[in-house]
Symmetry: C2
Subunit: 155 residues, 2 copies
DNA sequence: CACAAACAGGACTAAAACAGTACAGTATCT
DNA sequence: AGATACTGTACTGTTTTAGTCCTGTTTGTG
């Protein structure tokens, strides 16, 4: 099936919600407006902050915001933030966890698949996942969203 | 990680072995020459025959061979034969197994991702996975392999 | 300074998926 | 008749995933 895990799926829902709202939002707030359970939202946001896609502010009035301009975020970044490098099989060169690697007739060949998949995901942006993306000019959409999130990025 | 399961990984090893050898090979034969355990090879081949990528012959001197010209087989076909349709999330439209589908803000959006991934896999052929593909002219490689497997396809 | 809001990190458990195996059945050739 | 080889299905132990919870740290407010 080549599935992405559920957490990543939710992450997109939550990120789109964050995209849609104001610059800095608390986990509780996002949980409520996205409908995803708070502990789960919290787990996702922590991970996204750890990998640098989001930035966080602690304390009262804290929350999460984008660490960089959200219109430049690709699905590759989102998926890799939550699942690690895109690798269709476990046999990644240099991973060293396959003791047959040097004798394996497939060595390096799945890599062509990994590269192809990765490239295709590079071309899908996070903001393309927004439902309103269907009805708006992509340029306008970017402008509106970037403007809305600029405060969080400067903080 | 966006992983393909292990069975699919082995399937490529076995299929490449079949590609490399003669037209019709038994499961036991393929298990031996590929190094993958027989029950596993058997499971893979059965599934590939069921989905029509391979064809099988029972009885003494039976075995498996390609059901169509092997140079036209893409990784999409191999992966889909073993794992079902490529769907990055469980929310495929029309699958009907998500009761929130009609209210889900993401509805239909992962589809862009599915399509992108699928297209990228369409462009990787099974014969590109052969180690010797690196050193040979693709045209020559196709010709040699197609000729070798023609008998199975006519049978 | 005490308290409340909010993030950080890690640990734990129940459920689901997967891998691998085994077995009983059917077809085919000699 | 008997050996070879595919077919279908069922079972089981292991691994992964999902989801939750708890304890600690940071920060703003009265």
């Amino acid at each position: 099936m080549l599935k992405v895990n559920k957490l990543t799926d939710y992450a997109v829902v939550v990120l789109c919600d964050l995209l849609r709202g104001q610059a800095l939002r608390s986990a509780a707030d996002l949980a409520q407006s996205s409908g995803v359970p708070l502990p789960t939202v919290s787990k996702i946001l922590k991970q996204l902050a750890r990998t640098g896609l989001l930035q966080s502010a602690r304390g009262v009035n804290g929350g999460y915001g984008f660490a960089k301009s959200p219109d430049g975020i690709s699905m590759t970044e989102v998926i890799e933030a939550l699942e690690g490098p895109i690798a269709v099989t476990g046999c990644i060169e240099d991973s060293g966890d396959c003791e047959h690697l040097h004798e394996c007739p497939m060595s390096g060949h799945w890599n062509a698949v990994n590269v192809a998949v990765r490239r295709s995901l590079d071309e899908v942006r996070l903001i393309d996942m927004l439902p309103e993306a269907r009805f708006m000019d992509p340029e306008d959409l970017s402008r509106v969203i970037v403007a809305r999130h600029a405060p969080a990025m400067q903080a």
